[in-house]
Point group: C2
Chain length 349, copies 2
């Protein structure tokens, strides 16, 4: 309909007020009488006024847009981005995403410079390149990170990975498993290391089989999980349960287990980590440790918005609690394995 978007000046003219009054009304700022404000808002709405965020920002104000720097490669990241989008919108903030490919070694400075021309703050989600963050340090823009970035000097929102892995092992142990395999994640990532540490600690603490063969490398991806589980299935004495460091690995592992003519969970129990949407869509549905994605997004947005309003972030590090989601892929170990438990030592295959 409207040829070109109305500007604040137009609103002001129609309402018979100055631009500043219009600005204050539109931005919910004090200094306008209620009647005038209502009138101006009505007119703005009528005319289909859309504030020019670029101009707002340029003139030193707030654009009410937050930026996200993310690698969109994994479902995990995408879901987080979606969460940030809706959390932002709930706070009347739009979101723009700067997508980084993983092959991407561009220096982050210019990206932040670009973003800072438009957005009021940035949330960084880079699960796969922790070192990247260090170089963002000298930014003149509020920054919050999710998931990684232990070394970076800004607030971090993370799941308690250690606690999550504990939950996983406790769940398997409670079902009666004593011989649990672990498919590790990408060792460059703090999240992977925390999960591994918890696995080892719990294994010791609960007196589970500590066979080193039970720990195999993975890479947080399907293929890595597949290969890892294949190795576990070929052990002289395979585990009765597997804890995969994330869901994608678990999905890969599931295929390998099937390929070895065993079934989940009758022969092998399988538990993942993340509760990414596929977890609920594979068959059997995957028992997993849920990262509270929605909470994480919300915490990130809230922290960022606080920083934008000049309030110091509540904490350098917000640790959110994961949660066990018991679905179909875990069960008690097969009976014959159970009966072997007492005399396990002498057992060869």
């Amino acid at each position: 309909m409207k040829k070109t978007n109305p500007t604040l000046a137009e609103i002001a003219r129609v309402a018979g007020v100055s631009m500043m009054t219009a600005s204050r009304a539109v931005n919910n700022q004090p200094g306008v009488s209620d009647e005038k404000r209502a009138e101006i808002l009505r007119i703005a709405d009528d005319l289909g006024y859309v504030a020019n965020r670029a101009a707002q920002r340029l003139s030193g104000g707030r654009s009410h847009v937050i930026g996200v720097i993310a690698q969109l490669h994994t479902l995990f990241t995408s879901e987080l981005v979606l969460g940030i989008g809706s959390a932002g919108r709930a706070a009347n903030y739009e979101m723009l995403v700067y997508s980084l490919s993983d092959a991407d070694n561009r220096p982050p400075g210019p990206i932040l410079d670009l973003l800072s021309q438009i957005v009021d703050g940035v949330i960084v989600i880079l699960p796969f390149q922790s070192d990247y963050l260090a170089s963002l340090s000298n930014a003149k823009l509020p920054i919050v990170t999710i998931d990684e970035g232990n070394d970076a000097p800004f607030p971090k929102i993370m799941t308690d990975n250690y606690q999550g892995a504990r939950l996983a092992i406790e769940h398997l142990a409670a079902l009666g498993h004593r011989r649990i395999g672990f498919i590790a994640g990408n060792e460059g990532l703090a999240s992977a290391r925390d999960r591994a540490r918890a696995f080892h600690d719990m294994r010791a603490q609960l007196g589970l089989d500590a066979d080193p063969e039970l720990v195999v490398h993975g890479n947080f991806m399907q293929q890595g999980g597949f290969l890892a589980a294949q190795r576990l299935m070929r052990l002289a004495e395979p585990p009765t349960a597997i804890f995969a460091a994330n869901d994608m690995s678990a999905v890969g592992a599931m295929a390998a287990i099937r390929e070895s003519k065993r079934s989940v969970p009758q022969d092998i129990s399988l538990i993942g980590f993340d509760d990414v949407s596929v977890a609920n869509h594979v068959h059997p549905a995957l028992t997993t440790i849920r990262q509270p994605l929605t909470q994480m997004s919300r915490a990130a947005v809230n922290t960022l918005l606080a920083m934008i309003s000049g309030i110091a972030p509540p904490a350098e590090r917000i640790l959110l609690s994961p949660e066990l989601v018991a679905r179909e892929s875990t069960a008690a170990p097969p009976l014959e394995k159970l009966s072997q438990k007492p005399g396990r030592k002498g057992m060869t295959r």
Copy 2:
């Protein structure tokens, strides 16, 4: 290092020229002597000059940023976005993504208004909401769509879905399959309809079993594929091969086939569509029809950039050719099935 970003004015001052000369030099525009240009560029580089895109755009120029409106829910979309990003960068354009959730019914107008303040043009990827596009019609910004949007009045980049589905069926038929199941996609989507149409046409043309039970509904998602394949596996006479309308459906189908104690491809051949990255990571690796994602991204970017420079788009519709990627999930049908072919009619089970 630098406290605040240098502006064009600073560059100009240091170089001892006017802002306009600096602007022209930095933007590779004519009207500057070679020496001056070199000098200015050197200084800009030294000072770490980053153009303020918002200001460029505000003052009526080009920001050299393109926008993408997308639903990041599927791998397919994410990969496309990544492709657009690198195609854009190759043309010296940055990309900003506006992420739409699928639950999202916000009117597109304001989103475009927001984007238009920053970007020079927009690529829309909304495989799951075709109708959305109609409302974008009165935009004052160059727009290109990918994958859907048959009704929308701007250039569309698409894969030749009909041709792709033909390739799939021809492949299966060449292997000797006569009884082919089809897991359909989301019927609201033109892509799904084209693939279905090709399936029916080819089935008739090649004289394959035309049993209506062989066509089952899917939704382009894993779960839908699982359910659909389950139904196929329970038929009195199951197919020897399945064509899933996309890879995610195929992945779901694979699980269902396994669950029915059959194996891929020994008992059942399976072919997908898209060649999303999981296709190569499932086990067995999925034979599929590749959508030329990279080409599509590049075509979209090129078309958009042409429109931005005021050149009329080359075509209202660019149809790219899909390609068969034969991997491990397809093979000749089992011998006993093959031998039944002549007398199939009398066979019950």
